[in-house]
Symmetry: C2
Subunit: 177 residues, 2 copies
DNA sequence: TATTGTTATACTCTATAACTATA
DNA sequence: TATAGTTATAGAGTATAACAATA
């Protein structure tokens, strides 16, 4: 941390009760924390992707949901929740909106009368083609200065972290980043 | 993605309009994305740390703020905002609460009459000793199966990402993770 | 004219409790 | 008794606009 030059006027020995102005901010401790760095990186990458998805009327979570439905036709809301770490009450509105928007269809589950199987419509598939193209491009762009090998290493280490960390008490959720 | 065995009853050729039950969920595409993995990892690590900090009456952002004030006595709110990527209106209430709580003091800035220099009180320093100890321990615990070398690599790569990614249009903020 | 700190406010996200229908 | 889907709602986080005081 660098400071403005206060050596001329107010020079005093001992602890300074009114510190001089801060010129350069020291965040060295925070930068040792995995949590701090992971949060900052996640916000940076998502900050690049989110505006583009917003143009398609999607949030990043909407995108994850539609991706998962596309790759797992017939999946239930309950399975989506545990896969993406969402709470059921927060998924209901999204699924309902996607249905109204004609992106997905719900049909009776073949094995469980309580559940509904989810599937993309043709419109949903088409929207996801655009969304996936944009997301893949921007995600790579956000990895910017990382070599392909570095990005692969980074992704592998991140997976190791969240696939190892004990899921929080009830279901593994904790407010915002 | 594995499915329940539907080969006996409803066997039909061609595209399946009512897919059988999903048994194992495929998230292989999402797992290629840096944004997805960084977000999941950040939520997992913070999910371990946040409950412990909550016992001390702090959020993870409160902790980052107090850390930064401690390591940069005399820092202004404006500097905190740009350092931690916060919006001024959202910082005001936190600073005010920390002041009322006796964790920090605000005094006139030596060089700028509009600004206030921030500093921890003795109580603030004491609270931060506990908070930092807990955070360091839990952050390391969350890095769990990673070797020290792997954690160092991970942190370095994450820094490279968020220190490189172009700060979003106005100031670099984008809602939640 | 630009910036610091601030108020007010809207919007989104996250979380809990409770209900119904079915297993 | 437990689970899937749902409703309602509380609480936290995030964002914009606008203002006074000062640079």
């Amino acid at each position: 941390m660098k400071r403005a030059d206060a050596s001329h006027p107010d020079r005093r020995p001992g602890p300074v009760t009114r510190p001089p102005a801060v010129v350069e901010v020291d965040t060295s401790y925070l930068q040792t924390l995995l949590g701090y760095n992971a949060r900052r990186a996640a916000l940076a990458v998502i900050g690049v992707i989110a505006p583009r998805l917003a143009e398609l009327g999607l949030t990043v979570v909407d995108f994850s949901i539609l991706c998962t439905i596309r790759d797992n036709p017939g999946i239930t809301s309950s399975q989506l929740c545990s896969t993406l770490n969402l709470l059921p009450p927060n998924l209901v509105g999204k699924i309902s909106a996607m249905d109204k928007r004609g992106l997905i269809v719900r049909h009776p589950h073949p094995l469980d009368g309580r559940a509904l199987g989810l599937q993309l419509t043709d419109a949903g598939v088409e929207l996801m083609m655009q969304a996936e193209k944009a997301t893949t491009e921007l995600d790579n762009a956000a990895a910017g200065t990382l070599s392909p090998a570095e990005k692969a290493t980074l992704v592998a280490l991140l997976k190791k972290v969240y696939q190892t960390v004990p899921p929080a008490p009830q279901a593994g959720r904790v407010s915002n980043l």
